[in-house]
């Protein structure tokens, strides 16, 4: 926890009132969900599939440099759309209300090496429930980094800029390992647990299929373009990994985001849960296209308040949520992508070293609080 508690000025009564106001925003969106939203996600899915098909088609001739460039760019965008605006959000159950078995959190699988059910458990259940609670939310540094002063320093953290870079390049594998809780489960005692082994096998099967598709079948289909198509799919996966990693780092790591202690969530009320989500997330500002390519996770605060509302509604929800931040004199952490990425990376570097004494406070926040 940072030195000052930025919510200290709120009474318990105010926090519950804030919760009721947020519930009202949620209810309004749910009441208005309908045909337009359904048309939106179907259009996105259809566009993504056509883009992927077209890009892979072009890559059959990837031996020609222009084809390689166009195909790789298209496939990168298609993979990002598939993981972010479609996969992440469908797996959150954002579209379950349509009752379409083809677009439902219980039937969806994604272009990713982590099987959907494992990701849903570690992400939807653990991360979204225990957001930013030290010792409970493994997203806080993914178990390989220290992203808050209150996390204990260990010499291992000296290498965390490198770990973070490697994680960014192979992010989907990082997530699969994370969903398996490898760090915890590789201890001798747990390694033989049949449930864990079954999950490892499931990841193995998923990786095999993904690798076979991207690095064997499509290159083979390309005939003389085998090597260039191989390079193209590798590049597209790399681009997708770097992009999603950057977006996700911006969700909880930039300066100004709060973390919480385990005991602070004991007996937490609905209002307090909302407040923790508000203080524990950060947004990215930008154009419509930018929001789309982040899967609307640029509206991370709104997503964390209402994880199962359709992503196309976060932009309108954000206006109302931001007004509540102002009303309750809370700091809404947001900024353009480069600034937030820099901020997150800066933290990764800074916290690779032990805390300086006295504890570093975050000057930006103090200014905002004084201004408020």
């Amino acid at each position: 926890m940072t030195a000052i508690d930025p919510t200290a000025h709120l009474t318990a009564e105010q926090i519950e009132e804030l919760g009721r106001e947020l519930d009202a925003i949620r209810d309004e969106v749910i009441a208005g969900r309908g045909e337009k939203d359904a048309a939106y996600i179907r259009k996105v899915i259809s566009a993504q599939r056509k883009l992927e098909l077209a890009s892979r088609g072009v890559l059959l001739f990837s031996i020609f440099p222009p084809a390689w460039l166009i195909g790789t760019a298209g496939l990168s965008v298609a993979k990002i759309m598939e993981n972010m605006e479609i996969g992440h959000n469908v797996l959150h159950g954002q579209w379950d209300w349509m009752r379409d078995p083809k677009i439902h959190s219980t039937t969806w699988n994604w272009d990713h090496v982590s099987p959907a059910d494992q990701w849903k458990h570690s992400h939807n259940e653990l991360h979204h429930t225990y957001t930013n609670v030290i010792g409970k939310d493994n997203d806080l540094g993914y178990g390989i980094m220290r992203v808050d002063e209150d996390q204990k320093w260990h010499p291992f953290h000296l290498g965390q800029p490198l770990w973070n870079f490697l994680n960014a390049c192979f992010f989907e594998y990082g997530i699969a390992a994370y969903d398996l809780e490898l760090g915890k489960n590789l201890h001798k005692r747990r390694r033989k647990n049949p449930e864990f082994r079954a999950r490892v096998r499931a990841v193995g099967r998923k990786i095999r299929k993904q690798v076979l598709k991207d690095y064997v079948i499509h290159p083979l289909l390309s005939g003389p373009s085998f090597l260039t198509t191989l390079a193209a799919t590798f590049t597209a996966n790399l681009v997708r990994n770097l992009w999603t990693h950057s977006v996700i780092m911006c969700g909880h790591f930039p300066e100004g985001v709060q973390v919480f202690e385990r005991r602070s969530i004991e007996g937490e009320t609905r209002g307090q849960w909302y407040l923790r989500q508000m203080m524990g997330s950060a947004n990215i500002s930008g154009s419509k296209a930018m929001h789309f390519m982040t899967g609307n996770l640029s509206h991370q605060i709104e997503h964390h308040l209402f994880p199962d509302l359709p992503s196309n509604r976060y932009a309108e929800v954000a206006v109302k949520v931001r007004a509540l931040f102002e009303k309750y004199e809370l700091a809404y952490v947001t900024g353009p992508l480069p600034k937030q990425v820099y901020s997150a990376w800066h933290k990764v570097f800074r916290l690779s070293l032990p805390n300086k004494k006295p504890k570093v406070t975050t000057p930006d926040r103090e200014r905002e609080l004084v201004a408020a």
């Binding site: 969900r33 309908g34 045909e35 337009k36 939203d37 359904a38 048309a39 259809s46 599939r49 056509k50 098909l53 159950g93 379950d96 209300w97 349509m98 009752r99 379409d100 078995p101 083809k102 439902h104 959190s105 219980t106 039937t107 699988n109 994604w110 272009d111 299929k209 993904q210 076979l212 598709k213 079948i217 499509h218 289909l221």
Partner: protein
């Protein structure tokens, strides 16, 4: 392998949703009004449509306000229609989301989901010599399918509707009368009052000798069943109900859908199928009236009540329940 995690069909669906091998779908080609609150929907079924027998119904899944809703409707087109299209005829009922949408909001070109035709409200192989059809309101729809399909020697139709212009297919029926293919008795309940089943003696004196197919509201069908049984000829009466006759409701309870991970409170009168759908759980469904067993689901824990009989079913390994006619009887866990 080429398309993992998707299937090639996910891509083919983008261009050819009605092809052979796809999930069965249909495309609405036209919507013709029949009366002020009823319309006939012309559907081009997908390639895997297996055809139907006159009198059967089809389940359709329609997206209303973005939400997929399934209902069953009787097929009103004859089996030998040249262009291969089928029609259903829908009467908009109060608060009926799907019926109102189909009658007033359905657009030609819209894709819908289809099931195969099903139902045993059909004529037997050996055609009976004398037939009585007894219908009310939209109960005429399966009978119209039969009338259009199969010419019989001696057919009487007793049909009830509030006023003459509320009679669905009135022109078609009068054409059949003009061609001497049908004797038609219209009962206009606004002026004549509800049909007293005892009046059959006067309307159709030989009713007890006729094979009878009856379709309409529960009140009419209950009275008919009693009447036919009372006269010792229950085997002559074939009925089709659009809704289950619900007799009992009790206390509800908390319902857990363990696969989806949702828990909701349910009263003791709402079918678990509706409870699940409302919560965004993927519930298989069928006739929605306890007949087709398309909705059966394992009951993992707790107890449910059959809304038709009041019977309580408790969870045991292997116990399956029909969610469309079962309500929570205390806390329960449904494997969806």
């Amino acid at each position: 392998m080429v398309t993992t995690p998707l299937l090639p069909s996910d891509y083919l669906d983008l261009v050819s949703p009605l092809r052979a091998g796809a999930d069965l779908r249909g495309r609405i080609e036209a919507v013709h009004p029949e009366t002020g609150d009823a319309a006939t929907v012309v559907i081009r079924p997908g390639r895997d449509w297996r055809g139907h027998t006159a009198g059967q119904y089809v389940r359709i899944g329609v997206d209303v306000d973005g939400v997929r809703l399934w209902r069953a409707y009787s097929i009103t087109s004859p089996t030998n229609r040249q262009d291969g299209r089928i029609t259903i005829t829908v009467k908009a009922i109060a608060d009926g989301k799907v019926s109102n949408h189909l009658v007033r909001g359905a657009k030609p070109g819209t894709l819908i989901q289809l099931g195969q035709a099903t139902g045993d409200f059909v004529l037997p192989e050996a055609k009976p010599a004398k037939v009585l059809y007894l219908t009310a309101g939209s109960g005429i729809t399966p009978v119209m399918g039969m009338l259009r399909d199969t010419g019989l020697e001696d057919v009487v139709l007793v049909h009830c509707a509030p006023r003459p212009h509320d009679v669905i297919f009135r022109d078609d029926l009068h054409d059949l009368v003009a061609d001497k293919k049908l004797r038609l008795i219209e009962v206009h309940t606004d002026t004549d009052g509800r049909l007293d089943i005892a009046r059959l003696d006067e309307l159709v004196p030989d009713w007890a000798e006729r094979e009878t197919w009856a379709c309409g509201p529960a009140g009419l069908l209950d009275a008919a069943e009693e009447h036919w049984t009372g006269h010792g000829v229950p085997e002559r009466l074939h009925t089709e109900r659009f809704r289950p006759s619900v007799v009992v409701a009790g206390d509800g309870g908390q319902v857990t859908f363990s696969t989806t991970g949702k828990t909701v409170d349910a009263d003791g009168a709402t079918p678990l199928l509706d409870v699940g759908e409302e919560a965004g759980v993927l519930m298989p469904s069928g006739c929605r009236m306890g007949i087709c067993f398309g909705c059966v689901t394992p009951l993992k824990a707790g107890a449910v009540r059959d809304l038709r009989t009041g019977e309580i079913t408790e969870a045991e390994p292997g116990v399956l329940i029909q969610t469309c006619v079962s309500a929570a009887a205390g806390p329960c866990d449904i494997e969806r």
